[in-house]
Each structure stands twice: as structure tokens, then as C-alpha cells.
Symmetry: C2
Subunit: 211 residues, 2 copies
Amino acid sequence: MSATVPDAVINRLPAYYRHLQALEEEGVENVSSQTLGERMHQTPSQIRQDINFIGGVGRQGYGYNVAMLRQHLMRILGLEGNHDMIVLGAGSIGTALARYPGFAADGFIIRALFDTDSEKTGGEICGIPVLNVAELDCYLAEHRVDIAVMAVPSEAAQGLLHRLEEGGVTAVWNFSPLDLQHSTSQMQVVNVHLGDSLKTLSYRMCHREEH
Amino acid sequence: MSATVPDAVINRLPAYYRHLQALEEEGVENVSSQTLGERMHQTPSQIRQDINFIGGVGRQGYGYNVAMLRQHLMRILGLEGNHDMIVLGAGSIGTALARYPGFAADGFIIRALFDTDSEKTGGEICGIPVLNVAELDCYLAEHRVDIAVMAVPSEAAQGLLHRLEEGGVTAVWNFSPLDLQHSTSQMQVVNVHLGDSLKTLSYRMCHREEH
């Protein structure tokens, strides 16, 4: 596989995985770039180019083997083992993520939530303990944490990022409105800005006649 | 303003708006493409190119006027008036969106949630009524709805999209794992696939030495 997969392709890989999962569940054995393109609203040449980037191969007249390509993507996306996660912030977003059943199916397991609110700490959400954020450093020293989810207000996010780095966490899924930036080359951050996404929709509503 | 702003630029506009809001709150009057680029982790030339696309102008040696550029972006993003929203699905994601205070500050007002669960319907979440989804068509006939949020399982999403279209809703913010596609040129859909975002992070964790 090429070491320099463009960001735009990386961002599309999970959608390929999702559509291949669905095709496999439907019992489809082979899929052409044409059919996959129609499902994913992409051109067949875009599909072939993307899959070529990750070293997937189709057979002329048969297309891609659905199960093999899905398994190949599973390895590339790092979905073969479990990922142990913690969620910082047991507010509306942190709670929703803890309650959402879809992540565990892909091996993303939330082990603990952290909050400062004494009405929440000591309790559980969907069986997941809510700990006091003061315990974070001790927790990180004693437990493996692959991914920390940042679901706290902006003011708290940067300070917590520093504590996560000190504690050896190397991946952050950030829901705070800050654009968190990794301060070491090892730290990976993916920002989810829900407000930005909603404003993009608002833009498209205002300018629909132009598109 | 150019009628053909590229998608990549459109997707960055809300981040410009967010950073300009923060600068304005900090009392900054003018900002250079250099400083804005450092904040947003973009090159100054990218910043200048993006702002040029939306018709913003800076002054040599002064940079951009923060308040004027923010107001210009507010108009372009369609954030001058309120947007009336409904949320389909009062599960973990729908509930979190209803509880999240950040949207109302930008004029995105959730007026009602809809669900099929009789334990939820008739109640309220943060003062927002939870209605039975059977009432959706009547509701749409009687109320203005600018944006519908799709927070239901995949099986239900496509059917509800059709009912929204029949009811005259022209914008959907989709959290279901389906890639919803607008069936008319008027319908605008922005998909938020949280599972995809998490898998992108997983990919980056697996391939960090390559970047």
C-alpha cells in the first residue's frame, strides 16, 4: 500500500467500509466500480482510483470481491482489534456517545467517562463509570487508553489535552469547538465540529440555486 | 461573490466564522492572513485564496477587518435570521442535540422532536416537545421547518426523507448511517457520519509513522 494516501481518500475509506459491509450483509459477492459508484454517489473512475490507492484489485468483468475488499479495508482502518476509549465530559455529547450502541460493534469500547460535576461522578451511564476528572492522571497510569474523546467546553480542552499527552494517550477525537492541534508528531487529533457542519448546511440552503 | 465556490472552501467557511468570532471577542480589530493562518493551521496563501473566493478584501499592511469579515461571512452562511428545526428521533443523538446549547446561539432553534416510542412522546426534552412521528405530516403542514435533523435508524431514514420532501422541507442534517441523497434539486443534505470520523482516527493511529 502506498505510504502517501491523500487525506481526501483517507476520509472516504470508512464510507467504502460501510457500503461493503452492507453489500456483504445483502449477500453480494462481487461488485463493479459502476455499481459501487452508484451506491456511493461517486464516479466509477473515482472508485477505481481510491481502491487502487489502498492496493485493492478487481478482476475485469467480475469487479471487486466484496468480502476480500472489506477485510482489506478492516486491516487498513485498524479495526481488527478493540480500541479502549475514555470520554472527557459527561454532558449532552459525552452522554450520547456513551449511550450510542454503534461504536462497540466496530470495536470502539468506552471504558470510562470523566466529569467535574459531583452529581455525575460516582455514577454510571449505560454501565460505564463516571469518574472525577481529578482521577484522570491515575487512571491513565493504570489503564490502557487508545482514544480519548474530548467532549468538554473549549476552556477545559487545551489543558486536558496536555494531561492526556503526559499520560501517553496518542489519539483524540475532539468534539470541543477548539481546533485542537497535536503538539507532538505522535498525537493524532480528528476534530468533529457539529456547529460547522450545520453552518455548511445553512450555506447550501442560501446558495442552492447556484449549485 | 463567485457562484462557484468549491466544496472544500465551503466546508472551511464555518471555521473562518468561528475564528473571527473568537478574535472579535478578544478585541482584535484587524488580522493578517499570516496570523489567521497560524490560528487555523493553514498557509497564509490558502487563507487569502479562500477569503478572495467569498469576496472579502484585506488592506496591505493592515490585513482584514475582523468585524467586517465576520459580518460578511454571517450573511454568506445565512446566519442572519433564525432557522426553525425539528429532530426526527429522540434517541441518544437526537436528545443530545436537543440538550446542546450551542446551536441556538447561532439561530438554529429546535422546535420539536419526533419519535415512535410512546414512553417519550407527549413529554419534553429541555422544554422541547416530543411528538409522535405519526403527527409529522400535520406538523409540517402547520409549521415552518427550515431544517430537519435525521437521527433515526437507517431503516426509517429513507421513508422519513420522502415525507419531509412531501411536507416541503428542503434541508436535512443527517446523522443516520445511510448516505441520504436528495431526490430533488431543491433538497440539501449534509451527512454527519460519526462512525466514519472515528474510523478515520483509527486509520491515522495505524499509519502515524507514514505522515
